[in-house]
């Protein structure tokens, strides 16, 4: 089936939040902190502004607790006399003219008495920089399997390495925005978001309103990638506070500069590996330390850290593993959810480290992976026994074959020996991604989905999971149609409006298709039972029964419902971090071929092969598009997307100086799927959305190493960074040459 809303998007008819017609409204704007830390000693309003025309809101206007409710209740809606990061919201303004508003905002000076900020998450904070607990550690987690110290002591070889990854800006093409207004006593907030119920909860809490007096509606969302997971709650609250105070609808839309400066990014990370190996290259011990920069508030850092450490050991069998993780407080703009959620950082380190090990042992990088990849019956770092029947070696073999890896290796050797300025190489990464919330997370969410039968026999799917480009509307339509045997045209998917749809959990963590889709199937079965049919009834019989039911129960709603149930045989202990971290893992092997120009030190990816096993592929066009889009984001993160920092805030917050890949920067991404249906996922599917961001960066760094002899340990691998590395490699070469 083709994407449901494709034509509306192609013709420009789709209405995003900034496109909605709105009468008699005010534009909203945020005034922010200029300093990374300190007490707000004064707020000076410009004297040439007609202030009575403006609505001005500060923290004293918040009816409930001054907190954006999330994991911890530590982040204020508006700073109350003290700021912890640059761009922290301090005041809100509204006015009918956007121009007048911008002038007014520019005229305001927020005066901060500076205190010493903590700005480097990698270094232990000085005493004056401590602002969270006794050591600025926001969260500590550990996974222990076996006895890593003993195993390291006995290993024939120990290889160590330190790896770093930078922040990444989401650059969803539609900047964030919200509209708040009132329908009678009900506050209605509409906007671009991934998690309507997160926004609802945050509004209820800080505005001290009961659920019946708040309604949240997701508007078509122009990309999210995690950036619209937790952050929209802030904008919703800001717009709502201005609407409350003014009594008028308020529209608060970020421009690109504000969006890039003030919203979350991917957590920067530092990962250290100490690996014990046998002479044959078998992994005997993995000692891993993962440190991430959380920024100035807790936000989602504990769960990002959790996913980072669970994925840090890679898809390999090893009996002795210790993974220690820390999320650090710094006075940076808080980091947040971004596609992959910690796993891309820890798997960059892990997969680059595999190649470093291979080089140290003088072993082939493919062979090293072949002997260590998890086989069925073996267990991950958390002790989760993998028994899914997927042939992980076959996934890798397929990637090698499609990329003509061996042939090209020989070709590259010849090319590099003769070409004056270009160097080519291929790199491999084998990796995995757990789908759904970690551990007991799905149980705690208690997601519910409804499938309604309409009086005309049509089917309506009601869930809080949203479309942001990844294909929810299409996949939900296909799943409901297939389950009930009706035509896709007879299925509608309800707008994600909290007044109508149940809480089926957030649209994150690659959970929508696999988990929520599974609930949808069961809710469809429930609907069928309610009209007196068993699970074999399909098509016209179902629709006739629905129409008949409505004739017999005029005016009553006909709704099937399903709530989450943990798949059988899954157990997780959150205190020891042992057990089944995820219901299912998706598996992949990616090969990047690069060409480095030694004159400019620019790296170009000239071929990319992405092979994955994601259970049953429900919609090939959508699935392929998800992989291609994820890979290109990964190419950007690996080679060009560099956040430059000034006092913990992004200094290059423009698309002119934060570069993302264009069509001309990337090759065609060749995608293949191996299918092994997952019995507990909708239609046999496993989660897919995040997997493709995990593999490109290590595959590319490994390819650059192969092409040039450099030893990259950090991304983004910009031309400047590569130039430094090549000078080092060149120096090393000359030393070796001059040795007697």
């Amino acid at each position: 089936m083709r994407r449901r809303e494709a034509l509306a998007k192609l013709t420009g008819r789709e209405r995003y939040v900034d496109d909605l017609p709105l009468d008699d409204f005010l534009w909203g704007m945020t005034v922010r902190s200029p300093a990374p830390r300190g007490r707000v000693t004064a707020i000076r309003f410009g004297t040439d502004i007609a202030w009575p025309e403006f609505v001005v809101v500060d923290h004293r206007d918040i009816p409930g607790p001054n907190v954006v409710a999330l994991i911890e209740q530590d982040q204020p809606v508006l700073a109350a006399g003290y700021v912890r990061h640059v761009h922290e919201p301090v005041l809100l303004l509204a006015h009918p003219s956007r121009e007048a508003l911008r002038r007014a905002a520019r005229s305001i000076e927020v005066v901060v008495a500076p205190e010493p900020p903590a700005l480097d998450f990698r270094a232990p904070p000085g005493p004056a920089e401590i602002q969270y607990g006794t050591d600025n550690v926001l969260k500590r987690l550990q996974i222990v399997k076996g006895d890593v110290e003993r195993a390291l002591a006995r290993a024939a070889v120990v290889v160590s390495g330190t790896y770093e990854t930078g922040a990444q800006e989401h650059v969803y093409l539609e900047p964030q925005g919200m509209i708040a207004s009132f329908e009678g006593a009900v506050l209605v907030v509409k906007g671009s978001m991934q998690c309507p119920y997160y926004v609802l909860k945050a509004l209820q809490h800080a505005l001290a309103r009961e659920e019946a007096l708040v309604r949240v509606i997701q508007t078509p969302t122009g990309g999210g990638f995690g950036g619209k997971e937790e952050f929209p709650s802030h904008i919703a609250l800001h717009a709502a506070l201005l609407a409350l105070k003014s009594g008028r609808p308020v529209k608060l839309i970020y421009d690109r500069g504000e969006d890039m400066a003030a919203t979350t990014k991917r957590h920067p990370a530092l990962v250290r590996h100490r690996t014990g190996l046998g002479r044959d290259g078998r992994l005997l011990a993995q000692d891993i330390e993962v440190v991430i920069d959380g920024g100035a508030y807790v936000t989602l850092s504990p769960v990002v850290l959790s996913r980072a450490i669970i994925h840090a050991a890679g898809p390999y069998a090893c009996d002795h593993v210790r993974i220690s993780g820390r999320a650090m407080f710094t006075n940076a703009v808080p980091f947040g959810a971004f596609r992959g959620f910690g796993a891309p950082q820890s798997q960059f380190a892990g997969e680059r480290h595999m190649d470093v090990i291979a080089r140290t042992l003088g072993m082939d990088a493919v062979e090293l992976r072949r002997i260590n990849l998890l086989a069925d019956g073996q267990s991950t770092a958390t002790g989760q026994v993998i028994q899914d029947g997927t042939d992980r070696l076959a996934v890798m073999e397929r990637a090698l074959e499609l990329s003509r890896y061996r042939e090209k290796q020989r070709g590259h050797a010849a090319f590099n020996a003769t070409h004056a300025t270009l160097r080519r190489g291929s790199g491999l990464a084998t990796f995995y991604h757990g789908a759904g919330f970690t551990g007991g997370g799905e149980v705690a969410l208690q997601s519910r989905v409804r499938v309604a039968g309409r009086p005309d026999g049509r089917i309506e799917v009601l869930s809080a999971n949203i479309e942001m480009g990844q294909g929810t509307l299409t996949v939900f339509t296909e799943l409901a149609a297939a389950r009930l045997g009706v035509a896709p045209e007879d299925v509608t998917v309800a707008e994600a409006d909290t007044a109508r749809v149940p809480n089926s959990g957030p649209t994150v963590a690659s959970r929508t298709t696999m988990i929520v889709g599974g609930l949808l199937e069961r809710a469809a079965d429930d609907l069928r039972r309610r009209v007196g049919l068993d699970d074999t009834a399909r098509g016209a019989a179902v629709q006739q029964a629905i129409r008949r039911w409505h004739r017999e129960h005029p005016g009553e709603p006909l709704v099937g419902e399903a709530a989450y149930e943990r798949p059988p045989g899954i157990a997780w202990d959150d205190t020891t971090y042992r057990g089944d971290a995820y219901g299912a893992f998706a598996w992949a092997a990616y090969v990047a071929e690069v060409e480095v120009d030694l004159r400019t030190c620019a790296t170009r990816v000239i071929d990319f092969v992405a092979v994955q096993e994601v259970g049953k592929v429900l919609n090939p066009t959508l699935a392929k598009g998800q992989v291609q889009g994820g890979v290109v984001q990964g190419i950007g993160w690996a080679l060009m997307e560099e956040c430059k920092w000034r006092e913990g805030a992004m200094a290059n917050n423009q698309l002119t100086n934060y570069l993302i890949p264009t069509s001309d920067d990337v090759p065609s991404v060749r995608v293949a799927f191996l299918e092994n249906p997952y019995p507990h996922g909708a239609g046999g599917a496993k989660g897919l959305g995040e997997l493709p961001i995990d593999g490109p960066a290590p595959a590319i760094a490994n390819a650059v190493a192969r092409a040039t002899g450099a030893d990259p340990r950090a991304i983004p691998l910009t031309p400047e960074k590569l130039m430094e590395l090549l000078e080092i490699a060149d120096f090393g070469l000359r030393i070796a040459d001059s040795a007697p």
Partner: protein, 167 residues
């Protein structure tokens, strides 16, 4: 007119006339107004999107006298007497290859992508000297990885009628 008006100070409004999607329009515009805002907020043509506001992303692409431009960089008063065409002017039937090949995901870049792509389709001679990837490089897309877009353009070029319209 709704409260979206881009006119800050009615006294300073400049009266202009231009052709919009084949029809003449006359209106007063603020001297500082961008064509993008005039289209979106004054004329309620919201198909044209703002992705960056600084000429980098191409989401705001329109045709000015038949040539694609970033409408976020064009002061509205400059289009006086010119022909402006937006995504709303495109024939939906011609967009079928884009629907089929996965050219759109979130859709925020899509109107701009479709405008540039349609222009390439009308000027296939460009492909003698440039690749589709080069010609599409002014339209950033964060979702598709570009394969869906490039494939769609290639498909559209294969359809009968490609290259017919002259501008």
């Amino acid at each position: 007119m709704n409260g979206h008006s881009a006119i800050r100070n009615p006294q300073s409004a400049i009266p202009i006339t231009f052709t919009l999607n084949g029809k003449p329009v006359s209106l007063g515009v603020d001297p500082a107004a961008r064509l993008l805002d005039t289209l979106r907020y004054q004329l309620a043509l919201t198909g044209t999107k703002e992705g960056c506001g600084e000429g980098e992303c191409g989401a705001c692409t329109v045709y000015l006298d038949g040539v694609p431009v970033n409408s976020c960089l064009v002061p509205t008063y400059q289009v006086r007497g010119q022909r402006v065409e937006t995504v709303e002017s495109l024939e939906p039937g011609a967009l079928e290859p884009f629907e089929r090949c996965g050219a759109t995901q979130c859709g925020a870049c899509t109107p701009g992508v479709v405008m540039t792509a349609s222009w390439i389709r009308e000027h296939p001679e460009l492909l003698a000297t440039h690749s589709i990837r080069e010609l599409m490089a002014g339209n950033l897309c964060r979702c598709t990885g570009y394969d869906g877009i490039v494939d769609s353009v290639a498909e559209a070029l294969r359809e009968p009628g490609s290259g017919k319209r002259d501008t």
